[in-house]
């Protein structure tokens, strides 16, 4: 490295804004400045941002004053190592965003060199700018960078990441650092391939990769040039781990994705996934620990009006572990509305695939507490590509992978007012297990299981435009190939109400295939429903093309089916009220589909299930429906005397038995509302909480 003359060093000290601690220097840039050797002070700012950046060392800052700059810059210390902070002065002063425009027109736009407007290197940060007209993305982040509070609009790339392209992997210097993309507005960017808004390559190899994407607004970005179906329009995330020791995490919270479009190829042969968000683990190898979290309790994302010419209008989440890896994708507390997919999963698409994974592998994909409303799955039922699922299409494939390795869990969600032109207005589920995937007789056990629990399916539609659709609430399909294969879809604690269908079941439409492998043994299919409310749907409440047999098992237990137009159960299912705990009575749900205090579905669930998840008093037995077996369950009316009233007579019954325990002379079970073996203040509190209410 060439030493600067002493005089020059002194001059630099004089002209720069000097930190008394000697730790950092701030350089200034203004459109009125001059790029001379001594530029960079507040009084004598540089004219170009890059000149100021080139003066920096690690830990220094650059403040850019308001105005338009026609530059394409690289944010890295002039001395090479470490990170710097580049932000606009308006943002630094009062949080104003966009007062500084970096316009790449004529510099690095598509017609002039096609580069990114900004490249931010590891450990550096870039804040407060407006960036537009980049010919190969707006901003590249290489490593654990911070890209915050920028307006990134009207950039393009023939490749991936029209607005932001973030690459981790070998760019990351420190496992303890994370990349942050925060509070940016990313609009009207275009990519030939994936991620028109943001593309994240969160690979890890030797150094951990951690990415946080929070509070951004990504709208009307368009991905796809027609050459291939793209993965993601608003935000695309791939994690990957080269070895078992590698770790990659991505957290995506509080973003708004609105009106982004992911295109299929021009022929339609290659479809697109994820109009709003596309997320996938195992981008290349998938051998280590990978976690993608989309949302979280109270910090979910909003996805609306996004379009995928394929699957997952709002979100497409794809779990692709390698054997021995630990992978997880979670969708939590997101709101998905008015998104559209051309063939399946109008709101979201979940995909898990497992081939020859051993029991050391852990792969989980979950959708919890999301709200799916008004999403659309197009594609007619006679189109082979159409999978349906106006709200959600969830598919799990297990090839020679045993039970317990892959978990797909869809629970606690609401599906309301979604529609599909093929199958499953609210949701479409597919579990496929194959013990002989190459049909070569090399078989191993295979298990594909989907758990679908505590979901509300209300007012969804399976209505075709050219051929009839089926499964207004949900369509359920399980396929097992080979006698070592088991495909299971377990539905429990559902409320399925007022869904519409052209044919089959308007509530839950079931289908199954048990097929032989190359050795001749047929697979085992199990589709079960329990502890649910199925009411007021068009067609049958539960039915479909499924034909129970020796290898196709169905089970309906502890379910209230009532008032379904064609009948509560299609005949071949053999289900009827009065058997297996099933009942048929109006659940009396309120406008929000919640069982009121006196609903006959209270305490009618499977008595073998511990009701501890329900709030006290819970009657020591779970309820039916989507809120049952959860903290949202309707409490049990604490009618001690059984006269339909909770009043002073109940209170006095508790009072005279107060402090009595099991076996004591004045102990009686009806007064022990929490079933703890003692009549105490808690029991009295339950009764007084419902005091003067009646339940005739």
């Amino acid at each position: 490295m060439m030493r600067k003359p002493l005089a020059a060093a002194v001059a630099a000290l004089l002209v720069a804004s000097f930190d008394p601690a000697g730790a950092a220097t701030t350089y200034f840039v203004a459109t009125t400045g001059t790029d001379v050797g001594s530029c960079g002070t507040s009084a004598s700012p540089c004219r170009t941002i890059q000149v100021a950046i080139d003066k920096t060392a690690a830990g220094d800052s650059v403040l850019v004053r308001a105005g338009t700059y026609h530059e394409c810059i690289v944010v890295v210390p002039g001395s090479g190592a470490g990170g710097i902070d580049v932000q606009t002065e308006p943002f630094s002063n009062n949080g104003t965003v966009g007062g500084v425009l970096l316009d790449a027109a004529g510099v690095c736009d598509a017609a002039t060199g096609a580069g990114p407007v900004v490249i931010v290197y590891d450990s550096s940060s870039f804040k407060g700018f407006a960036i537009k007209n980049g010919g190969d993305s707006g901003v590249w982040g290489l490593g654990a960078v911070t890209i915050a509070s920028n307006q990134i609009t009207d950039n393009e790339t023939a490749s991936v990441g029209g607005g932001i392209y973030l690459a981790m992997g070998g760019n990351v210097s420190d496992s303890a650092k994370k990349a942050q993309i925060t509070s940016n507005t990313i609009r009207d960017n275009v990519s030939g391939l994936d991620g028109a808004g943001i593309f994240v390559d969160a690979a890890a190899s030797g150094v951990e990769s951690h990415v946080e994407i929070t509070g951004n607004t990504l709208s009307t970005n368009a991905a796809g040039d027609g050459s291939v179906g793209v993965f993601g329009a608003g935000l695309t995330v791939f994690t990957d781990t080269a070895s078992a020791d590698d770790v990659s995490t991505v957290v995506i919270t509080k973003n708004v994705l609105d009106g982004n479009t992911a295109a299929a190829d021009a022929t339609g042969a290659s479809l697109a996934y994820g109009g709003g968000i596309f997320a996938a683990t195992g981008g290349a190898t998938g051998a280590g620990t990978e976690t993608i979290t989309i949302g979280g309790t109270g910090v979910g994302n909003t996805l609306r009006n996004n379009v995928a010419e394929g699957y997952g209008g709002g979100i497409s989440a794809n779990l692709q572990p390698a054997s021995g890896g630990t992978h997880a994708i979670e969708l939590i507390d997101n709101g998905l509305s008015a998104n559209t997919a051309s063939f399946g999963g109008g709101g979201a698409h979940l995909f898990a695939t497992a081939l020859d994974l051993d029991v050391a592998t852990s792969a989980t994909i979950e959708a919890r507490a999301n709200a799916f409303s008004g999403n659309h799955a197009q594609g007619a039922a006679d189109d082979p590509a159409a999978t349906g699922g106006g709200g959600l299409y969830a598919e799990s494939y297990a090839y020679r992978t045993p039970a317990g390795v892959v978990v797909m869990d869809v629970s606690g969600n609401t599906f309301e007012g979604n529609d599909a032109e093929s199958f499953g207005g609210g949701a479409s589920l597919l579990a496929l297990a194959n013990d002989d995937p190459f049909a070569d007789g090399a078989t191993l056990p295979a298990d594909a299981t989907i758990r679908f629990a505590n979901n509300l399916l209300a007012s969804n539609k399976a209505l075709g435009t050219t051929v009839p659709a089926s499964g207004g609430g949900a369509h359920v399909l399980a396929i097992a190939v080979g006698d070592q294969a088991a495909a299971t879809i377990d539905q429990s604690f559902l409320t399925v109400i007022a869904n519409q269908t052209d044919a089959g079941a308007g509530g839950l439409d079931w289908d199954a295939t048990s097929a032989p492998d190359s050795l001749g043994g047929a697979g085992h299919v199990s589709i079960a429903l329990s502890n649910s409310i199925v009411q007021g749907n068009e067609g049958f409440g539960v039915g479909g093309a499924i034909q129970p047999s020796g290898t196709v098992q169905t089970s309906i237990r502890y379910t209230d089916a009532f008032g379904n137009v064609a009948g509560d159960y299609e005949g071949q299912l053999g289900a009827a009220p009065g058997s297996n705990g099933n009942i048929s009575i109006d659940a009396e749900l309120d406008a929000l589909h919640v069982p009121p205090l006196c609903s006959p579905t209270i305490d009618m669930g499977d008595p073998a299930i511990d009701p501890a998840n329900e709030p006290l008093p819970n009657g020591d037995r779970v309820n039916l429906g989507h809120l049952a077996n959860s903290v949202g369950a309707t409490r049990t009316f604490p009618d001690v005397t059984g006269d339909g009233l909770v009043d002073g007579i109940d209170v006095m019954a508790i009072a005279v038995a107060f402090a009595q325990s099991t076996g004591d002379p004045r102990y009686f079970a009806a007064g022990d509302r929490d079933f703890n073996g003692q009549i105490d203040g808690a029991d009295l509190a339950f009764v007084t909480a419902f005091y003067a209410l009646s339940c005739p």
Binding site: V640, T641, G642, D643, L645, D647, G648, I649, D650, V651, M652, A653, A655, V656, A657, F658, A659, P665, R666, F668, A670, G671, L684, T688, Y691, A692, L693, S694
Partner: protein, 202 residues
């Protein structure tokens, strides 16, 4: 630093209290020139209740506000009572229940008694509970003369003629007097006579 004079505050509070006391009672009182509302009175069906009776008897009244005592007379082994009192909401407004003078409180702590009232769940019905708790700790009471269980306060919303149905206060089922024993799933019952009355307002 400015320090405030606490005496000024005390003086202000006293002045406010005096002003409150000087306000005429709503609906009447001794000064007819300031009264435009009715003056209420409660008349018991059984002014002198015999033994084995729970009766409504008059308490004090001020203008449209009338107190009604729920009394127990001549009941041995009284542990508690649960009952309803019905009234016409177009004529009467239930204002609250006072249990501070209840004989159930004699010699026991607050933790040993339960008093509940609800007039919201069903319009025109006050659901009342007054009971001791845990007979192993606090025994039942042998009640002799008319003793106050609770006192109910109503306000007349309009003029009510004497003996008019709209002024009636009656006990309603389900109601029960508890003797402190268990007769699962309720407590042992004591048979009593229940006696109501009526509010008039002029």
């Amino acid at each position: 630093m400015l320090r405030r004079n606490p005496r000024l505050r005390s003086a202000a509070i006293v002045a406010m209290g005096l002003a409150f006391l000087a306000l005429p009672a709503c609906g009447g009182g001794s000064d007819d020139t300031q009264s435009s509302g009715p003056v209420a009175k409660f008349t018991a069906d059984t002014p002198t209740p015999p033994a084995g009776t729970i009766a409504l008897l008059p308490g004090g009244s001020t203008g449209a506000s009338v107190n009604v005592r729920v009394t127990v007379t001549g009941v041995d082994g009284f542990f508690g009572a649960a009952f309803r009192v019905t009234y016409d909401t177009s004529a009467l407004l239930f204002r609250g229940m006072d249990d501070s003078g209840s004989f159930l409180r004699t010699g026991v702590t607050n933790a040993d008694v339960i008093f509940l009232s609800d007039h919201v769940s069903t319009a025109g019905v006050v659901v009342i509970t007054a009971t001791r708790k845990d007979p192993a700790v606090v025994p039942p009471v042998d009640v002799v003369g008319p003793s106050d269980l609770v006192v109910l306060n109503f306000t007349a919303r309009k003029q009510i003629a004497a003996a008019a149905p709209e002024g009636r206060l009656d006990f309603a089922d389900p109601k029960q007097v508890c003797d402190g024993t268990l007769a699962a799933p309720a407590c042992g019952a004591i048979t009593v006579t229940w006696s109501g009355g009526g509010v008039s307002a002029h």
